[in-house]
Symmetry: C5
Subunit: 83 residues, 5 copies
């Protein structure tokens, strides 16, 4: 699982069916690259989290048909980002 | 999910069976690299979108047997590309 | 789907079972890196193609048990490679 | 499978359901990048291990529904890290 | 499929169940990065091979429950490594 930091939420009105009621977070990795993840945990901006990719991302949402390839798996309590 | 910008459509007459009626978009990431994605949303050139990869890309098309590993998941309303 | 250019065919006599009658192509991406793909379309050296990765690569071969993680999905008619 | 070195364990109290009783390890690759993996083997800090990614990571945990995309597959007895 | 060169075998006594009787090879790519793969073909050190990743790696072993994400698919007879 990769380690990312929460930056904010995504404003996105036109989506594929099945994502209407899912929270989407914008994350940044240590290099500053932004990605989008589904979030069943409820992370806040500034939180460091670990994210699950691939088909496991769908299992984490409780429904393997959910359209996601990246899901927040947990909020890290103590962490020192890569330097 | 990665963040990409729509550049145009792909002209491709010789394809594997199962892709004849699927719209293919050419996208570019922040570094300028071009990739090809299926698009059930109807994105236009210039739009910033997020794309879903892996087996989730097939679920997003409504048929897990569709030959794709990248699908447009939504059009982003407000976005600031990586710099 | 990634965009690649066909370079040639692969000479490979010792293979795992299930690949004996499958055509294998050597492709190059824009950076010059060579990879190997199964080809149900019949691409020729010099053709620009898009390739499908992951489990979708197996569906594209018409048999999900085929040993491949990369399949030629179509030959691109008009294309401008990354510069 | 990638080769990684164990750095420590992850302190993470807010997690998705299904990860409550799974040990999470922090690993580092040869370039120093840290990732998070589930560990059914019991590796210790300093150990060099090989890790399995994707859906195989879930099979390695004995339950394909476990939320992981990276699992420690074995502890390497003799190894010379990349230089 | 990626192209790799066989370097040797892996000495690894503590493993997850299901890998006890599987041969593990250490491979190197053109950049010198080492990875670990299961080998049903019987490649020797110095051989150039192509490797299959993801869930196809498990199908290549004849048992989709085998813990692997990388399997040697074939030994390349003639090959010129990237320069």
């Amino acid at each position: 699982m990769e380690i990312q930091q929460v930056e904010g939420s995504l404003v996105c009105t036109q989506r594929v069916p099945g994502l209407h009621h899912v929270h989407l977070r914008v994350l940044r990795d240590a290099r500053g690259k932004r990605v989008v993840a589904t979030d069943p945990v409820g992370a806040s901006p500034g939180n460091w989290v670990f994210v699950v990719s691939g088909s496991a991302a769908r299992y984490a949402m409780g429904d393997a048909r959910i359209l996601t390839d990246l899901t927040v798996g947990g909020i890290i309590d103590h962490w020192e980002p890569d330097t």
